[in-house]
Symmetry: C2
Subunit: 142 residues, 2 copies
Amino acid sequence: MFLRIDHVGIACHDLEAKIAFFESTFGMTVVSREVNEEQGVREAMLHVADGPNGSSYIQLLEPLSPDSPVGKFLAKRGEGVHHVAFGVPDVAEAMGELGGKGIRLLDERPRHGSMGSSIAFLHPKDVGGMLTELVQAPPPRT
Amino acid sequence: MFLRIDHVGIACHDLEAKIAFFESTFGMTVVSREVNEEQGVREAMLHVADGPNGSSYIQLLEPLSPDSPVGKFLAKRGEGVHHVAFGVPDVAEAMGELGGKGIRLLDERPRHGSMGSSIAFLHPKDVGGMLTELVQAPPPRT
């Protein structure tokens, strides 16, 4: 089902400061900056590796408000790993298969993720305490 | 510096139960089971993807005792993501470079990791709250 570890999402208080840290410390490169109002985050994708089934990233997430999901996470847990995302060929198909196995989905249908992807979240209590995201990459540009 | 997301390490109470869950839910395959006395864990590596610079895995970790680092993590945080590991070409070289940049190392020298790798951990407070592992893959068998 999983094609790759698509990204590890890290919650932080100050996106630009954290980007500068990851760039200068690990030599990583930002490939995308976005604001996702629906999810209440300002985010950046930093490239780690390319593979035959897509690329892997670190995703940095700064909440747009304290009462957003990432804002509440930061207040409760502090900065750190927020979720782990796996690439799938078809997110709707994966949701159907996993829902049929009794995994609770946090989304009824796929929604917009980073860089044009379609995503859905699985309930962390059903996946070993790990908030898990499914990511379907956008179709290649023609 | 980073070649790949090598693995995401997940702390759990019951290794065999969690392996069975990941296999049946996501169709993942266990490629290695080990006991690492030094780190106080029983662990398994589940394959996610192969890439030009190495493979990616989910690592499941069960503590050998409650007073081990993973045992204490479970008592405090419950099951979930324990650390994130990145592949590097040379772990000693990466330690030197990161130490020179002021990142605190939890290991003075590389130690034994999963499947013959050499590893070292970085202080989570210096890497955005994420316990970070450096992994140098073993030399290929001849």
